[in-house]
């Protein structure tokens, strides 16, 4: 979609992905300004209500980024995130919200490059989908 800049909300875990975003910044990597970062202590802290609130408040896509499996600061918070995400994906289908508008991925504190890649890919995917037309009327 021409000229459309998606708004993305990114929930970043404090221990890995937020630091990953930081290392991308420190290395002066360029990444799109479409994301609004929300730091959470753990990807397992992301209540599915947060994701729906983001969509309701005009986010065109939502990212949840956490530590790689096995690396969670709280041992298994990211697995809890994975369980919720798997079920939430299925629940979003009848709402007509496309699969690519919600992404759970793993970015460690040292993976500045990976952070940039994940964000670019998400921005491009959502750009192709266009704005999210919430139910009106």
């Amino acid at each position: 979609m021409e000229g459309f800049e998606p708004k993305l909300v990114a929930f970043l875990c404090n221990w890995c992905s937020y630091s990953g975003a930081d290392s991308a910044g420190k290395a002066q990597k360029e990444f799109p300004a479409n994301i609004r970062a929300v730091r959470v202590m753990c990807s397992g802290r992301v209540d599915p209500q947060f994701v729906l609130e983001a969509f309701k408040n005009k986010a065109d896509g939502v990212l949840i980024l956490g530590c790689h499996p096995g690396d969670c600061h709280y041992k298994e918070g990211n697995y809890k995130a994975l369980r919720r995400y798997t079920l939430l994906k299925e629940v979003l289908k009848p709402f007509g919200i496309e699969d690519e508008r919600l992404l759970l991925d793993w970015v460690s504190a040292s993976e500045g490059n990976r952070f940039v890649e994940v964000v670019w890919q998400m921005v491009n995917n959502v750009k192709r989908l266009g704005p999210l037309p919430l139910r009106s009327g």
Binding site: P48, L52, P69, L82, R84, L88, V91, P94, F95
Partner: protein, 323 residues
């Protein structure tokens, strides 16, 4: 001063909540002895003009069941709002959108086409569908507009109190009437039921283990359900975890799991998402493929988690088409 005047109205719903008023049985006489019913389309012969003729705020209270789907319903509930001091939303449809709110997974036009054209048992060679206005000779016939979206009562008018349930219960209705007559109402906006989750007061609570691990969800017909044991511990989905109590465990006592008709607890924005969160944490795997398999053992999870609350959920239903 005469007895307080009361109205009852049935909007988009199945009428089960009207039945609950009748189920007051002998208590109905106590209630009707203390009040004057001046509008009750399902049971007594009053016309809309009778309501229009009332002075503003002349009624003490109206009990409205059903969601709002038609322009006629919107017109009448707005009229009743003007004529009544108190409005009580009675039942899940009025409070949350209810089962009829599940229609918001479709657009209005899709529903019309399905019902009048696509259902295999329908023969409609001319492809006729209901219209708001039809011309017949020099006459113009009108039907109420069928809105695109189902709304709960408080999305259309100001609501003072809520009695949830599908249907609500005679006890809750009687308590509400008594509270009005004795002037003992809680603050405006309160839900006149329990403030705790059903799970908190469930008679099977002691059998709920600390940690529940489920690798495959079961449906009620697939196993013989132990009538004394927590449903979730038997891998049967039960929404009692996130659902307001006050229903007297009608389903649990009939050995059926909770389906969430009393709606979310205070401070929860989205009952379905809240339940999703709780249920997902019981899925016993860390592997993506295995988790998908477990999720697949729940047919229509969205329809199940939002059975009564879709119309008032954060997203309200299926999104519109891209412009």
């Amino acid at each position: 001063m005469g007895k307080p005047k009361v109205g009852l109205y049935w909007a988009a719903g199945c009428g089960g909540c009207e039945e609950v008023v009748v189920d007051l049985a002998e208590d109905l006489l106590t209630v009707t002895g203390a009040v004057d019913i001046v509008f009750w389309p399902v049971a007594m012969d009053f016309k809309y003009q009778d309501v229009e003729a009332l002075k503003d705020a002349e009624l003490a209270v109206v009990l409205i069941n059903g969601a709002v789907r038609l322009s006629e319903q919107e017109h009448i509930v707005k009229l009743l709002r003007r004529k009544s001091k108190l409005v009580i939303a009675n039942g899940s449809c009025a409070c949350l959108g209810g089962v009829v709110g599940l229609a918001n997974f479709s657009k209005g036009i899709e529903l019309i086409n399905r019902a009048y054209k696509e259902v295999p048992t329908v023969a409609n060679p001319l492809g006729l569908t209901p219209q708001s206005v039809t011309r017949e000779g020099d006459k113009e016939l009108e039907l109420p507009d069928f809105y695109n979206t189902v709304k709960s009562l408080n999305m259309v008018i100001d609501v003072d109190y809520y009695i949830p349930g599908c249907p609500s219960t005679p006890e809750l209705i009687k308590d509400a009437f008594m509270a009005i007559l004795e002037n003992k109402l809680p603050p405006k906006g309160a839900v006149l039921a329990d403030t705790r989750a059903l799970c908190d007061t469930c008679s099977r609570r002691d059998t709920k283990p600390e940690k529940i691990s489920i690798r495959e969800f079961k449906r009620v017909y697939e196993i013989e359900i132990d009538p004394a044991r927590c449903f979730l511990d038997q891998a049967i989905i039960c929404l009692g975890l996130v659902t307001r109590g006050g229903c007297q465990e009608r389903c649990i006592k009939a050995n059926m799991p909770c389906r969430g008709c009393f709606g979310a607890l205070d401070n929860v924005n989205d009952q379905g998402a809240k339940f999703l969160s709780a249920l997902a944490s019981m899925m016993d795997s860390n592997d993506e493929q295995e988790l998908k398999r477990i999720v697949d053992s729940i047919p229509d999870p969205a329809g199940l988690f939002y059975r009564y609350s879709l119309a008032t959920s954060l997203l309200r239903g299926k999104i519109d088409e891209a412009k």
